[in-house]
């Protein structure tokens, strides 16, 4: 439903403040670790599209590295979803090539690691 406004050219007054071209060539990517609720939200990182997918564990470490489970992760067993769809990423190929776009949400599950004392924390 369109906004009800007092002017016809409402959009001229209301620019989009969240377009990909405003990010200096980066994609704003969200990374979320399933079953680890002690982190209060998914992390956000600005990444250039040529970033290899294999760099994501290092990116994730900057926030999630403080959790005792983090160093136990076997990255070859991690299950990934991109914007809700399961994917099998190629670590050598770039995120841009594998469908990651501005504000994509990448979620990862680490089998066998269910948070502090297995309590999803």
């Amino acid at each position: 439903m369109p906004v009800k406004a007092i002017v016809d050219n409402y959009k001229d007054f209301n620019p989009n403040r969240d377009l990909p071209e405003q990010y200096h060539g980066n994609l704003m990517v969200y990374l979320y670790w399933n079953k680890h609720m002690s982190f209060v939200a998914a992390m956000a990182a600005p990444l250039p599209p040529p970033t290899p997918f294999g760099a994501l564990p290092e990116v994730a470490k900057s926030v999630y590295g403080t959790h005792p489970d983090f160093e136990k992760i076997d990255w070859s067993k991690v299950e990934w979803t991109l914007d809700g769809n399961p994917i099998t990423p190629d670590f050598a190929k770039s995120i841009g090539e594998q469908g990651v776009r501005h504000k994509s949400l990448i979620r990862f599950t680490t089998p066998g690691l269910d948070g502090f004392e297995g309590k999803y924390v």
């Binding site: 369109p2 969240d18 200096h24 002690s38 809700g84």
Partner: protein
């Protein structure tokens, strides 16, 4: 000439309000009042507006002046007696900081908003009422500035509250709420602030906050509360009158009003989440739990209000069941947020002690031990190892309420709730169905939201590193982070030691 008979209150009121209004002839009425039709609200007879208070401007000034005299006498006495040394504990000041940096600037926004509606509504009755509320809000802002000024002499985190309001990531939650209301038309503003905020939700903000102040020895805030109370009851009456008036004027108004009620209930609920963590975690002496307050002030009081409004066809706000269910969770989730992000805020956070955690188990038997105590246990363990748990990065925000995406699925507290919309080829993320619906209704409006994390990445917040951004926020090095060992903590200890030492001599 016969002596003029003194006018009665009713007559005087009529002259000083309705008598001031006229139909313009040189200019078209639609040009003089350009804002009160585009929202689609139909008013057939403005004179049907019932003025609930019948307060004329001259008696308004008289009342308010009297209240001001009393208020400033108490504030002065508080300062002269070093009232800040009599609060329960310096941790309490963080409640004040959150209120004074998060809500006081919004009192000013409310003042501006009501000044606008007080100019642009065609009917003279609501116009006068809005002008009075506009002045009340300005007065509240002023009196709260005096409180800021006093506590700022002793405690960190308050000095740059004006700049912080425009820039800081969590303060964009209240700011965007009021920006949204003020950029709506005058009727939506009245439903947003007058009805949803001042009528349906205000008790959840003021009652716990004022009782919290009283329980924790903050007499300056209690006095402000009393001084504002008679204004608040006037505002509530205006809020309920506006909704009845709109619904009585034309049946076409009902669907529009219902959408606004749905939207502003959810936005208000998200904003008041900040109060939930004040009540459950930040008051050293507790008043009641957030869940108890929600039961009393929303489920019971709100329920009977909407029962009363049923005769107009108005329904309970959409997703009210989700809000009630979420009461088991939001205070714990939001305090977790503050605990691990306090180093990038103007607030201190601390680990609740065992007694406090037992209180939480008792108040939240269904959820605390199962979902939230384990988090604190992990963080406590890390604190003991000298690795205080902080979130070392930037996080995902909800595009509507601008809170971090921290809330969980309505039926699953172990999974974060993610909702998404696509608009003109772009993704937008939301923390809840309520926030998604608000965006989907007016995407053209929300695409221009100033989202703090997005703005950092775009290079508009001082630079790419955390110290750059904190400098842009005008935070000093001692404004945030862990409470234990902070300057606030040390100052408080020094006051307490001085008292003990004196008693011992």
């Amino acid at each position: 000439m016969a002596p003029t008979k003194k006018m009665g209150i009713k007559q005087k009121y009529a002259h000083l309000t309705r008598g001031l209004d006229w139909e313009t002839t040189y200019e078209k009425m639609d040009d003089v009042f350009p804002y009160d039709k585009f929202e689609g609200i139909k008013i057939t007879d403005w004179s049907k507006w019932e003025d609930p208070f019948r307060l004329t401007m001259d008696s308004y000034w008289k009342f308010q002046a009297e209240k001001e005299r009393k208020l400033y006498a108490v504030i002065d006495a508080f300062a002269q007696n070093n009232g800040q040394t009599n609060i329960s504990d310096a941790r309490y000041v963080n409640v004040l900081k959150l209120f004074l940096t998060g809500i006081s600037p919004e009192e000013y926004q409310a003042h501006r908003g009501f000044a606008f509606t007080g100019r642009h509504l065609r009917g003279v009755g609501p116009r006068v009422a809005c002008q009075q509320q506009s002045l009340d809000e300005l007065r509240h802002f002023q009196t709260q500035c005096h409180t800021i000024s006093h506590f700022n002499k002793f405690f960190n985190g308050l000095s740059e509250f004006r700049t912080m309001h425009d820039r800081v990531f969590y303060l964009s939650v209240p700011k965007s709420f009021f920006d949204d209301a003020r950029t709506a038309g005058p009727f939506e503003f009245m439903i947003a602030i007058g009805f949803a905020f001042e009528y349906v939700l205000t008790n959840l903000l003021f009652v716990p906050f004022m009782s919290g102040a009283a329980y924790n020895g903050d007499m300056s805030t209690v006095t402000f509360g009393f001084s504002a109370q008679s204004d608040e009851s006037r505002h509530m009456t205006l809020g309920i009158e506006v909704i009845k008036f709109l619904l009585e004027q034309h049946p076409d108004n009902l669907p529009i009003v219902q959408e606004w009620v749905d939207k502003w209930f959810w936005r208000g609920f998200r904003l008041l989440g900040l109060v939930s963590m004040m009540m459950d975690y930040m008051l050293p002496k507790k008043v009641m739990s957030w869940k108890e307050a929600w039961e009393i002030y929303f489920v019971e009081a709100g329920g009977s209000l909407f029962k009363d409004l049923e005769r107009y066809g108005l329904k309970m706000p959409k997703y009210h069941e989700q809000a009630t269910e979420a009461c088991e969770h939001i205070s714990h989730q939001l305090y977790g947020l503050l605990y691990q992000l306090s180093h990038v805020t103007g607030l201190h956070a601390w680990m609740p002690d065992d007694e406090h955690m037992d209180w939480l188990s008792e108040k939240y038997p269904n959820t605390f031990d199962k979902y939230y105590r384990p988090r604190f246990e992990l963080w406590k363990q890390q604190e003991a190892e000298g690795k205080r748990f902080y979130y070392n990065g930037l996080l995902q925000l909800c595009h509507t309420c601008q809170l971090p995406m921290t809330f969980t699925e309505p039926d699953d507290p172990t999974t974060t709730c993610f909702r998404e919309s696509e608009y003109e080829g772009q993704h937008y993320h939301f923390c809840s169905d309520g926030c998604k619906d608000i965006f989907d209704r007016e995407p053209e409006k929300y695409i221009s939201s100033w989202l703090p994390i997005q703005q950092i990445f775009q290079g508009n917040c001082g630079g790419p590193t955390i110290p750059d951004v904190l400098a842009y926020y005008m935070f000093g090095p001692n404004d945030g982070g862990e409470y234990v060992g902070s300057e606030d903590n040390k100052l408080w200890e020094s006051w307490k030691n001085a008292t003990t030492k004196e008693a011992a001599e």
